[in-house]
Amino acid sequence: MRLELVRRPEQSRRMAMLSPLLAIALTLVSGAILFAALGHDPVRALGVYFIEPLTTSWSVQELLVKATPLVMIAVGLAICYLSNNWNIGAEGQFTFGAIAGSGVALSLNSWDSGLLLPLMLVAGILGGMAWAAIPAFLKTRFNTNEILTSLMLVYVAQLLLDWLVRGPWRDPGGYNFPESEVFSDAATMPLLIAGSRLHIGAVFAVLAVVVAAIMLGATLKGFEIRVLGQAPKAGSFAGFSRTRLTVFAFLLSGGLAGLAGISEVSGTIGQLRPTISPGYGFAAIIVAFLGRLNPIGILVAGLLLALSYLGGEAAQVSLGISDKITKVFQGMLLIYVLACDTFILYRPRLVRANPTGEAAHGRA
């Protein structure tokens, strides 16, 4: 017996819907096995991880807080990936956007004006774009691999942030803690629900989803993105420029990541610290794929990934499991969703015994 993959004539729409659900199911099963191996009751552990965070209004709000940057970043990444540009460095663009926006906030911290926040957001967007422009330029000019360059720039941005909060931007009245001054009220994002941490960044995320959905579904630009991503030669035959689209996709995703970065610092944290993200820029890659690179799907997937963060914290508190469990779940989810995606264009088939075992040499 061996398993063979048979190409389908067309993409299976049913499988495209089913694949993320199948991936989630496989993740849950694997998680249960993992918990059992650690000596916990798998049902109770999964309950703590995935159900409990949804039972209080505080934690539901917290879910939205965490989903906000994930969705914002993932929407931009989806456009990158659809156009065949592999931006892996959203974490760096997020960080540099946060640095740029915070730079405005800190230098104008005493300016009590309604213009300060918009100025910070614009600076955040431009910062993210600038950071993303580097791999885009290197790719279009020197044909470098954007996966490597964008990823390496993550560490540059993180070290830059580290240096800033320990050095020039350290709060003089902060007892030598590596933190910036706390942002003034004018530099803080307004809250959506008083008393919670849910800020208007969530509205930006939803807006990004809507605009991206319209762009991808109904405009020539969206068509260009899909064509150049799937068949570059057909794209240039259509008259679309690959170079221009690469720059566009990187700037767009960098800008959104930068916006997410400054929103997170201004809305959720309130100051710059050495670590401002639990890996949102990387988790957003999972969100993008789990959401089928579709903006609406990303909205749902963003909530699920946010849940994995909350669940990790809950597991740490209630079960005494390391919060590394979060990364394990996120990793499993990504692997399963990519694996299940194979079935969109291929159908599995069992083939009867092959006595020679020479199939590997066969030329199909």
Binding site: P9, V227, F237
Partner: protein, 529 residues
């Protein structure tokens, strides 16, 4: 034997294999289902030793599926294959090769950067040492009239030589049955003759050859028997020598194939609509051909064809004409009086030019997009397709119109391009451009791998477009096609273009010589006409 047609030496070289020869391979009720679709429906087939047996059928008739089952690349749903009288199960190509079934593919599967010997060694999976292998390659290739240097790099070989590598690789496995998928589609007439001699020699030794071809003249001349498939079923078998190409085509299509009608001769007083003036282009990469000082003028109302062996600059010429590689000299290309050399694809389309590249999937169409979306690909400059950056519904209507007028067959209303058979997709991408009524149409390999019925439709559409006043430039390697549609013919060889000559006053042999690069010393080009 009433259709001697254009081959001067159509003879009886298809010497009868003795009917007493034993049956080598037999298929009984061989069936392959893909879901509900029967690609092959109870096919009965047999081939004897020493026989060249043609497998004929339109695209999508089930030929490829059938031979893939014989070669072990697909498993039959039901039915039986008997090899030398014994029922066998051919699980994979390795099993097929061990039994003695070899296959020469239509699309070569060679690594460009390796030598001939290295490529062959890969397929033989280390059974022979490299020195001994080179010697065997030399011997086999000499014995069968397929001269090859085992040490040459594949990238340096012509298409004909690459095919020789495939054939020699197959022969080294000493097969009893060789399956050949459109072996002559990439060869010059001269190279094809060499191939036919090799085949004759092989059959003399008792090797059977299953021969798939769309070139019916060739089949008639070469093959001892033919099995005709239509919609996955065997609809007939015959001795091709007793048939005409037209009668063979009729059996394949199930109806008479129309000959292309030239309603009237092209008029010579029409204005020039497409002009190339000293068009030169440096090579884009190490395996690319430079274009050298190409001059050509195509008038409204005429079809000009550019013949040539693959890899002599056709692809580069197409890219230069379409604007995918804009030129430096804006005056080197003139479309309807506008200097278009430096214009983009889109700007050239706005001047009324349309283009159909050779590669259907991935260039002319995006495999994963629907037909209506593939309409947007080349027609997003039109108001009812895209307005203000937003997609309008117009593409859908165009797709329906093209499907209707070019009889594109498909499974449902708006399927993905990749689900169409090659011929149907080709009708669609040609139809998509003709539907615009372009003033200038440049089309590369309009009927490559397309069945007789669809080919006739496409060629007729090209001629009709020209007669309605457009300038049509066809780049093709198929001489049958060229003589069918062209008013004038030029030949491209190593990036240079010969002076076009009227089709009526030239012969296939003259064109064949030019294709081989003979008489190409600059002045020789026009002498041959």
């Amino acid at each position: 034997m009433n259709a001697e047609a254009r081959h001067t030496d159509t003879g009886s070289e298809a010497a009868k294999p003795a009917n007493s020869q034993p049956t080598l391979l037999e298929a009984r009720g061989l069936t392959k289902a893909f879901g509900d679709f029967l690609a092959c429906d109870h096919i009965d087939f047999s081939i004897r030793r020493g026989e060249i047996h043609a497998l004929l059928g339109e695209n999508g008739a089930g030929k490829s599926t059938f031979v893939k089952m014989l070669y072990g690349a697909l498993q039959p749903t039901s039915g039986e294959i008997r090899w030398k009288g014994e029922p066998v199960s051919i699980d994979n190509p390795a099993t097929a090769r061990r039994l003695g079934i070899g296959m020469v593919f239509q699309h070569f599967s060679l690594f460009d950067v390796l030598t001939v010997a290295e490529n062959i060694a890969l397929a033989l999976a280390g059974k022979v040492g490299p020195g001994a292998l080179a010697e065997r390659i030399r011997t086999v290739s000499r014995d069968y009239g397929l001269p090859l240097d085992p040490m040459s790099i594949v990238a340096d070989l012509s298409v004909g030589e690459r095919q020789r590598v495939e054939i020699v690789r197959c022969l080294l496995q000493e097969p009893d049955l060789i399956i050949m998928d459109e072996p002559t589609s990439v060869l010059t007439p001269h190279e094809a003759e060499d191939l036919f001699r090799t085949l004759a020699r092989l059959t003399g030794e008792g090797v059977a050859i299953l021969y798939i071809s769309h070139r019916l003249e060739e089949v008639k001349r070469l093959c001892h028997a033919a099995t005709i498939l239509r919609h996955g079923k065997v609809v007939g078998s015959c001795d091709p020598a007793g048939e005409t190409p037209a009668s063979l085509a009729r059996m394949m299509v199930g109806a008479d194939v129309r000959e292309v009608r030239h309603r009237e001769q092209a008029r010579l007083d029409m204005p020039v609509r497409l002009e190339l003036k000293h068009l030169s282009l440096p090579p884009a990469g190490p395996f690319s051909v430079p274009l050298v000082e190409i001059d050509l003028a195509v008038r409204g109302g005429e079809v000009v064809a550019i013949a040539g062996v693959a890899g002599n600059g056709q692809g580069e010429l197409f890219d230069a004409l379409s604007g995918e590689r804009p030129l430096h000299d804006r005056g080197a290309l003139v479309i309807d009086g506008h200097e278009a050399g430096r214009m983009s694809v889109g700007a050239r389309r706005r001047l009324g030019a349309a283009f159909v590249p050779e590669e259907r999937l991935g260039h002319a169409a995006v495999p994963g997009l629907k037909l209506s979306e593939n309409v947007v690909l080349t027609r997003h400059g039109e108001h009812h397709v895209v307005r203000g950056g937003f997609l309008k519904g117009g593409a859908r209507a165009i797709a329906d119109r093209v499907v209707e007028s070019f009889d594109v067959r498909k499974s449902h209303r708006d399927p993905e391009a990749r689900s169409l058979s090659g011929g149907n997709l080709q009708k669609f991408v040609v139809g998509r451009e003709i539907d615009r009524q372009p003033g200038v149409l440049v089309v590369s390999q309009p009927t490559w791998g397309v069945d007789a019925g669809a080919s006739a439709d496409i060629r007729q559409a090209l001629v009709d477009l020209a007669r309605a006043g457009s300038a049509v430039l066809v780049i093709s390697q198929d001489l049958d096609e060229i003589f069918e549609v062209a008013d004038r013919i030029a030949v491209v060889s190593r990036g240079r273009l010969s002076a076009p000559v009227p089709a009526a006053t030239t012969s296939r042999d003259d064109i064949g010589l030019l294709m081989g690069g003979i008489g190409h010393g600059g002045e020789g080009a026009s002498d041959a006409a």
